[in-house]
Amino acid sequence: MSTSALEALGSRPLPFLRSSWPWRALAYLLAGAVFCVVPLVVAALSEVLPGWGAVGAGIVALVAFGPFVARFERWRMRLVDLSPVPGTRERRREIGLAVLTLVAFWWIDLAIVGVAVGGPLLLVLSPVVQPEAAGAIAVAASFVGIALVPVGAYVLTAWAGARAAMVRAVLAPERAELEEVRRSRARLVDAFEVERRRIERDLHDGAQQRLVALTMTLGLARLDVPDEAPLARTLDRAHGEAKQVLAELRELIRGVHSQVLTDRGLAAALGELAARSAVPVTIETDLDVRLPPPVEIAAFYVAGEALTNATKHSSATNITIKVEKSRESLLITVTDDGHGGADPAAGTGLTGLADRLDVVGGRLTLSSPPGGPTTIRAEIPCA
């Protein structure tokens, strides 16, 4: 099943002719006839008003009808194009579309319907409409007319599809579409980040504090029990287990959200990351300013993922994280001396990184020849 008239044109002739697309195209184009009312009204006004008055009325009509024309065009586009038209609602574009429709499209629509439908129809009906022609010629003309019906269907569908594509280009330029997708992804990522912070806060304020209080209570209780009492061993065990849970919870919370990143910025947070890394990490940075939170979070994420990858897969013995800030972007380079051969297609890690960077308009480049070294570079705009 095709999703638009233009796409349907590409299918094989018989299925295409049997499909609803030519009929949809016809309905689409005929609906344009309503616009002939506006030029007629303006023409009628020019009889009453002086010349400039009619021009003024025309302009007023364009501005006033712009949104209605646009809404009508969006609505009927569903006849020939099933994918939704994202809404930009730019006044300028709507008026532009109104001008295009009222000045040109409506009569081209009707002219094409006239040629593509009327032409074959007239030929088919020639024995009726041209009784003066010789019988054989009229019958031949009828056959030619029947043969031209499929051609008419193609012409109708082609123009309807092209017209819809033009309307779409005016109402929803591709750039706006991509921009909207990017913004919506950025909103999603922001929402996740807020949620992670909330989870971290809740765990910190709730479970973690209670567990610390619990270990303290157990510790105090232990003071009152002589070492040789059987209760002492039980208390020691409970104490040890509570501390273990606390340590695990701490690691969990740290993975959810880096508090030091929020408090002290990227350089400090990378330092913590390096401190916890199993493989020695050198950090080279002269970054001494705070960057917008989405940039810091994305950069931190890149460094974290790159470290995890290097540690898990590359048998690296040395990792370098370099952070450089230029006027309009942040460049973060992670190099390891492992065996290389990292394949973006193999796991979700690198793809996830690229996706995560895409949200902030950043780019990821990877160089990982077999034998190493592996270099991951991320560039994040931060004007």
């Binding site: 209670r210 610390v212 209080a213 303290m216 030091v260």
Partner: protein, 209 residues
């Protein structure tokens, strides 16, 4: 000792009060945010302050910033942190001796915690073993030149232990400890001086180097 406590979680604050009282200290004030801490210190002039890092109103590092301010007047401060942050540890240690930085978990080990408090009040420097462990696992130069035994000794120095205590802990003679310490100082390029501050410098070498 007279102690001022700053901790925003009520449960924990009350726990700390009863713990410190249990060990014979007097809690002059127990407050819930950094501003109240600074006010309480002005009012009660305590011997030592115990403070959380993360407190209202911003729930960022208010407690640490307050601690750094108090350290400028030389007041002993023991900072409790929910997790180890090298940055915080380094900032605190740079303020000189009489300072401590411990994971909050350590208050569960009540005796050790009370002991750490006493040592900080007496002018020692106490760093959480976790901080030291992270540093030792990461550093290569010049820390990599230390022998495992010397690392052990250094981590105990970081916890603020005196030579005698280190000797007890490692079950060696005090002379052996002194020998290890001399080795550490030499490998970290800390020239011999009369200043006991070299012990702190050795720890600082990890944190800031």
């Amino acid at each position: 000792m007279r102690v001022v406590i700053a901790e925003d979680a009520v449960l924990l604050r009350e726990g700390l009060v009863s713990l410190l009282e249990r060990f014979g200290h007097q809690v002059a004030a127990a407050v819930g945010d950094a501003d109240a801490l600074l006010a309480a210190v002005r009012e009660h002039a305590p011997d030592i302050v115990v403070t959380d890092v993360r407190m209202p109103p911003g729930f960022a590092d208010e407690g640490l910033r307050a601690a750094l301010e108090l350290r400028r007047d030389g007041l002993p401060v023991l900072v409790l942190s929910q997790y180890v942050e090298q940055t915080y540890a380094a900032e605190l240690l740079e303020t000189g001796t009489g300072v401590g930085y411990l994971l909050k978990d350590r208050v569960g080990d009540v005796k050790e915690f009370a002991d750490a408090l006493d040592r900080v009040a007496a002018g020692a420097t106490v760093v959480d073993p976790e901080v030291v462990r992270q540093l030792l696992s990461r550093r290569r130069d010049p820390i990599s030149r230390l022998t495992p035994r010397e690392r052990e000794v250094l981590s105990l120095i970081a916890e603020g232990r005196a030579n005698a205590a280190i000797a007890r802990e490692l079950v060696v003679t005090e002379a052996a400890v002194a020998k290890h310490i001399a080795g550490i100082f030499a490998k970290l390029d800390l020239p011999p001086t009369q200043d006991g501050h070299r012990r702190v410098l050795a720890v600082l070498a990890y944190l800031t180097g």
